[in-house]
């Protein structure tokens, strides 16, 4: 379980996170939702130690992330940020191989190779595994990065807007993979996501942030509620039930 205790963070004198406390359930998909600038990505960065909190602490399986060795944490928790500009000429397979660094320190063993191959298969990248990243489309690239995170084989996987710039087909494909990671491999997935319908359909829990504070936190079914969403987004969001899924119809 990931526990966030009283975390605060300021950027240039502005409170981005204010006294945030939160528990993330193991073996579930948790979505962070909220308007732009709510502090979702910052919270994800703090949990994954990319950003240091000004105060408060983050515990992963009871261990304070600031007191644990970075290399040990890299086998427990992984993060994928939304913008990944790599100026190296790497093939998909080489990129996925980097995911094994915490285990092999750069020299891939047979076991590492196996993890890499499995991750590639999991993301259906077999046919393009020897292609260079700069030859790929946005969706393929995103899948390659997720394969790298899968190869890292951590209990906790954090993804910052994994659906950014993807079309519906690829978005659904990636959400299905995340679902499988949780259901089949018992991983814990935390995502920052803007599309509340994807959050509604695929996640178990939803954490809603606004102005650096958690305004609501609960099961997906309970958060996808017109009144709650209106408070978060300051707009009317009618909800329809279609095929047993709660869908927000906010387009008009």
């Amino acid at each position: 379980m990931v526990k966030v205790k009283n975390v605060s963070k300021q950027f240039n004198g502005k409170n981005v996170l204010e006294n945030v406390s939160l528990s993330i359930e193991k073996g579930k998909i948790t979505s962070f939702i909220g308007p732009n600038g709510a502090g979702k990505s910052t919270l994800l960065s703090v949990i994954s130690r990319l950003t240091k909190a000004d105060s408060g602490e983050v515990l992963i399986d009871g261990v304070d992330i600031n007191k644990e060795k970075s290399n040990v944490l890299a086998k427990k928790i992984s993060i994928l940020k939304q913008s990944n500009h790599i100026n190296l000429r790497l093939t998909v397979k080489e990129l996925v191989g980097f995911g094994r660094f915490p285990y092999s320190q750069g020299k891939l063993t047979k076991e590492d190779e196996q993890f890499v191959d499995e991750a590639i298969k999991y993301m259906e990248l077999d046919s393009i595994q020897h292609k260079f990243l700069d030859e790929l489309s946005g969706g393929q690239k995103q899948r390659a990065y997720i394969a790298m995170v899968i190869a890292q084989d951590t209990d906790y996987i954090l993804l910052d807007e994994p659906l950014n710039n993807l079309d519906m087909k690829h978005s659904v494909q990636i959400m299905k993979v995340l679902r499988r990671l949780v259901d089949e491999l018992g991983k814990t997935v935390v995502i920052v996501i803007h599309d509340i319908n994807f959050a509604s359909v695929y996640s178990d829990n939803i954490v809603a942030l606004k102005n650096g504070v958690i305004v609501n936190d609960g099961s997906a079914k309970s958060i996808i509620n017109s009144q709650i969403l209106e408070d978060i987004y300051e707009m009317e969001i009618p909800i329809q039930e279609i095929n047993n899924q709660k869908i927000c119809v906010y387009f008009a």
Partner: protein, 318 residues
């Protein structure tokens, strides 16, 4: 030709052949005893300087995640010359630190390390690394050090100016042999110390976030490597003087030639290319131009031409 290993072997032999030509050209049994030791010292200085410049440029580009930055663009070598000028300006050339090259060298290295620590605190420790700001500050500081140096050089005694001038231009005919031994010891020590970091470089070139995600103690590695860069730039500048273009040139040549992201190959090949460029350049200076030009001119000329070529080719690729 496809394998990086093969390419590395080719570079290695090219370097060996050039060194052999340099050592043996116009050697007769009568002058061998005089010529060979002197040429050997030049070669040792070239290998040290070339190695330092190539290594620091490659490492610096990796930690800044940028293919244009080199330590000299950030003004590290102008700082070294500034330190030399200050010492002569305030204490004169007859004082203890100037008389004893080794003491002078160690003091300068100390100040360089201090400077790179300040650089670290100001730029690398902060959350949002702004590479443009770093570049801007580097260029401003570089010209600041240069202007202040030349201002001081105007004021000092002409005889003392000669001593400063001697340090200002890169020259392999004027190698600071007094510190050669100390340089070898320092470089050897640094190499042994940095070996443990070399496995991190590939991952660090993925960027700060990925490096931390994959379990690298990013801040510690960057801090250590900046200090290593400061030491090695000091060694190179103290031995032969500033060779601005070389680092940028060999590092990019290595990337173009090796076509790999693996730093083991990249670092080794850029060091070899650096040695090839320096020995080749020196041969041209000594044998073709008969000392009528300097190696900096040759290297800047070839480097500049190569970059124009790169620009034109990139333009076509669009």
């Amino acid at each position: 030709m496809k394998q990086p290993k093969t390419k590395l072997i080719i570079l290695f032999f090219a370097a060996i052949i050039l060194i052999a030509v340099f050592m043996l050209i116009k050697v007769t049994p009568y002058n061998a005893g005089y010529v060979l030791p002197r040429r050997a010292i030049k070669i040792i200085a070239i290998v040290l300087t070339g190695g330092c410049i190539a290594y620091t440029s490659m490492v610096f580009q990796t930690i800044t995640n940028n293919r244009i930055l080199t330590p000299s663009i950030l003004g590290l070598d102008s700082l070294y010359l500034f330190i030399q000028t200050i010492v002569i300006f305030f204490f004169g050339s007859k004082n203890f630190t100037m008389m004893n090259s080794n003491v002078n060298f160690l003091v300068s290295v100390g100040i360089m390390i201090l400077f790179s620590t300040i650089l670290y605190v100001m730029f690398f420790k902060r959350e949002s690394q702004n590479i443009l700001l770093l570049l801007l500050v580097g260029i401003i500081l570089g010209s600041f050090f240069q202007s202040l140096s030349s201002f001081m050089q105007m004021l000092i005694d002409p005889n003392e100016f000669l001593i400063v001038q001697d340090k200002m231009f890169a020259s392999f005919n004027n190698i600071n042999t007094n510190i050669l031994l100390l340089s070898i010891i320092i470089v050897a020590g640094v190499v042994i110390y940095t070996l443990r970091f070399s496995k991190f470089f590939d991952v660090m070139s993925l960027g700060k976030d990925q490096a931390i995600n994959l379990g690298i103690d990013y801040d510690r590695v960057v801090k250590n490597m900046l200090i290593v860069v400061a030491i090695l730039v000091s060694v190179a500048t103290a031995l032969v003087g500033p060779i601005t273009f070389l680092g940028l040139l060999v590092v990019n040549l290595a990337r173009e030639f090796m076509k790999t992201y693996k730093h083991t190959y990249l670092i080794a090949s850029s060091i070899l290319l650096s040695i090839i460029a320096l020995v080749g350049g020196l041969l041209i200076v000594e044998r073709v131009f008969a000392f009528s030009t300097t190696i900096s001119v040759i290297i800047n000329f070839i480097g500049g031409t190569y970059f124009i070529y790169l620009l034109l080719r990139e333009r076509k690729a669009w």
